[in-house]
């Protein structure tokens, strides 16, 4: 039989599998995907190797179908077989490598009994001091914390929890939605993050369907926060407190251009999804939005505004102050009225370089307006 006959059968089974999934019949869907994969593998073997595009598309399709059927050994077999040839086009090589890496990860998780919610986020940093596959530890550590913080905030928002200003997320969020760091395919410097599915789903009966969408929601929020205008963010995050919080955390993700000059976030599983890109300009855009919002809500705009750059030396948020040692001064400056500061944003900034916006009262007291990490 020819490629077209096998491929047509494969298409038919795959379409039926998709319909079965929509109807919630996962078992039938897996069976149909397996049948589709078998037909696609036959289509591949019936193909003239000179038809490189058809061959490339079919190889990706066959590996994807085995993956959807949960047959990871078959994914390995077919991907490695075709990656070893010189017959594939570049797009297919890249897609097969991703499918293979994803299958390996899934295989390991299945063996260990760990289940994740849908999707995986890939974060990569580039430019400046970053080289292929290596980056300063403190920078990577900070970015991992910021990404985890956005995930926790996303989950809290989905759980309809009030916006948290002090302390860490509640124990149930930390314990039930553990974030995992995964090895990613080599790139500029990149890491992958996934969220573990709660072991006790019954603890969250009101948002069971939304739990699966945590990663997608994370990508929507970060994507909307990265845009020049924030119309979309208002739709994705209707609560103004959460919206301001997300803007502040995502601003810290963006580079200033000193250590690195580009941060990209994308779905590791949706190959067609466009990446969310943060450049130094992104930070300025978010700053502008936050400044405008602040001006609209503050009465004290008549006070002189200043910016202090230096090291965050101390903080006591319950007593409403932080202390910054400025680059150009001998003594640290105590900044008051830090009511707006959010613990999990400012906590990791201690002993790091920061930029603090302040208003200066006529008696010389510095009043807090905003804080961001310098890199």
């Amino acid at each position: 039989m020819s490629w077209i006959m096998h491929h047509s059968r494969s298409e038919e089974y795959a379409s039926q599998a998709e319909a079965a999934l929509r109807n919630g019949d996962r078992e039938r869907a897996v069976e149909l995907y397996r049948m589709a994969a078998e037909e696609e593998a036959l289509a591949l073997s019936a193909l003239d190797p000179k038809k490189t595009r058809t061959l490339s598309v079919t190889a990706v399709s066959a590996a994807s179908l085995w993956f959807k059927a949960g047959e990871f050994r078959q994914v390995e077999r077919i991907a490695c077989q075709w990656l070893a040839t010189d017959d594939l086009l570049d797009f297919a090589i890249s897609q097969l490598q991703t499918i293979l890496q994803t299958a390996w990860n899934e295989q390991l998780f299945r063996q260990s009994g760990i289940e994740f919610v849908k999707g995986e986020v890939l974060v990569s940093v580039g430019g400046g001091e970053i080289v292929t596959g290596a980056a300063p530890l403190e920078l990577v550590h900070r970015k991992i914390n910021e990404v985890r913080s956005i995930f926790h905030r996303t989950i809290e928002m989905l759980l309809n929890r009030p916006f948290r200003k002090r302390g860490l997320p509640n124990a149930d969020v930390q314990e039930q939605f553990r974030t995992w760091l995964l090895q990613a395919a080599p790139g500029s410097y990149q890491f992958a993050v996934r969220v573990q599915k709660p072991a006790q789903m019954s603890l969250f009966p009101d948002i069971t369907p939304e739990i699966e969408e945590v990663t997608q929601k994370f990508l929507e929020i970060v994507g909307a926060a990265s845009r020049e205008t924030h119309e979309e963010l208002e739709n994705v995050v209707p609560d103004p407190e959460y919206r301001r919080g997300f803007l502040r955390i995502t601003r810290n993700l963006a580079p200033t251009g000193k250590t690195f000059n580009r941060l990209e976030i994308r779905s590791a599983t949706d190959l067609e999804a466009r990446p969310i890109v943060f450049l130094p300009e992104s930070r300025q855009d978010i700053n502008k939005t936050l400044r405008e919002e602040r001006k609209a809500t503050e009465e004290s705009t008549r006070l002189k505004e200043e910016q202090i750059t230096g090291i965050l030396r101390a903080l006591h948020l319950d007593k409403d102050w932080i202390e910054v040692h400025p680059d150009d001064g001998e003594k640290s400056i105590r900044i008051l009225q830090t009511g707006d500061v959010i613990d999990d944003i400012v906590g990791p900034m201690v002993n790091q370089r920061v930029i603090v916006d302040v208003a200066v009262r006529p008696d010389g007291a510095h009043l807090y307006r905003d804080i961001q990490s310098e890199e």
Partner: protein
């Protein structure tokens, strides 16, 4: 002059790459996404480069059950965009969906001139579809990004990028080929 109808109905009869169940599912998603912003009928613009064509979009308003089934806005926008994009390329470019091939997270569709069933995928255009409920700027921005990414990355070309703007009643499309 009569405005042609965007051929959203009975797509499985004309597009061999779509099964009946899938075509109906995409149509349902389109009805929900259209009804989010408009009452039927509505005039949409199909834009291909500097060429524009008007098309009348007629749909049956979704009932509560249908809305409930498509409560996930992202799924409805994505699948509804497939229905509108496939119908727009049929009307505007004379292309029909001939094949489907799986990817890790979904499937790609391949289009070819109507009445031609190619024996392979060598010359077919891969359909790259996106849907949005935002403004015209967002529709054009997505199209530009898709074209840029296709040229920068390791893309499966030739492709046809189609962005459906449900709120602004615009379907923007552009062919992306290796030689560009």
């Amino acid at each position: 002059m009569t405005i042609p109808l965007l051929p959203l109905n009975d797509m499985a009869n004309r597009h061999v790459g779509l099964t009946r169940a899938l075509a109906e599912s995409y149509l349902e998603a389109a009805r929900v996404s259209l009804a989010r912003h408009h009452e039927p009928p509505q005039e949409f613009i199909l834009r291909n480069g500097s060429t524009e064509q008007a098309a009348l979009v007629v749909w049956e308003p979704p009932d509560n059950r249908c809305r409930g089934a498509w409560a996930n806005k992202d799924d409805a926008t994505r699948d509804g965009a497939y229905a509108c994009a496939i119908a727009a390329t049929e009307l505007s470019l004379g292309l029909s969906t001939v094949r489907r091939a799986e990817t890790l997270t979904g499937a790609d569709y391949y289009v070819a001139p109507i009445n031609q069933i190619p024996e392979d995928l060598e010359d077919c255009f891969r359909l790259e579809v996106s849907g949005t409920n935002l403004n015209e700027y967002e529709v054009q921005r997505r199209l530009r990004i898709k074209v840029k990414q296709a040229h920068e990355g390791k893309s499966n070309l030739p492709a046809l990028a189609v962005v459906v703007g449900f709120r602004v009643k615009l379907v923007a499309m552009q062919a992306i080929e290796e030689s560009l």
